[in-house]
Symmetry: C2
Subunit: 133 residues, 2 copies
């Protein structure tokens, strides 16, 4: 039985932030990448919006998902929900400071996506062509 792989409980890796922090980052990305969060955050970037206004703005989201995602965003302190008890009722959603601060890194990722989308598409074409042919 050789020691091809170390059986040490503590890996000889970078001393800090490699396991735990990665998890948290991953969890954040799971939230941010959940298909609607970013669309909502960006739609709210220009100022407060009402429920159906957001729905129209985003286009393609079900009201169920809009409700759920907004609730999650509110729970995380990224969005505020303001109810005006009129008839008909009016509810406004708005980014908090924390929500606005999220836009910067998200936009950075967006820049990356826009910049490299063509490269990715090309890579996919190449890969699919190679693996199927």
């Amino acid at each position: 039985m050789e020691v091809t792989t170390s059986a040490l409980p503590a890996p000889p890796q970078a001393p800090r932030h490699d396991s735990v922090d990665c998890r948290r980052v991953s969890q954040l990305l799971a939230r941010v990448g959940d298909k609607w969060t970013v669309l909502i955050v960006r739609s709210l970037g220009g100022g407060p919006r009402r429920f159906n206004e957001l729905k129209r703005l985003i286009g393609g989201i079900s009201q169920r998902m809009l409700t759920l995602t907004l609730k999650n965003l509110e729970r995380d302190g990224l969005v505020t929900r303001t109810v005006t008890p009129s008839i008909p009722p009016r509810v406004d959603y708005e980014l908090t400071d924390l929500g606005h601060s999220l836009r910067k890194p998200v936009d950075a990722l967006g820049e990356w996506a826009l910049t490299n989308m063509a490269r990715i598409d090309a890579a996919r074409d190449r890969f699919d062509r190679t693996s199927e042919g």
Copy 2:
């Protein structure tokens, strides 16, 4: 029937990049935020790694998910797969230039997460306490 909401087909928003681009950014985030991609990309940040090495490094990933995610990353041109036909076989995975370039915006998001994680947790506690009490 009042005009509480504008029925205009073109919203008075930013002139460009609000619908289409958002979708692509969202799609990219869906890939990047798929629970394992970021962990893998970050694990590969220090250089090439072998299959089971990655598995141990990440810890908690099934080999099925590792295989699938690596294949997707390879398909997108973010990772290269190098086979050494020895016995036992050896396969190395390594970030491409494109893959490395992704680390910057992802790390930026990571910074944000680490910086604001406490705030988010606090907001959640507050929210949960309020809604349940």
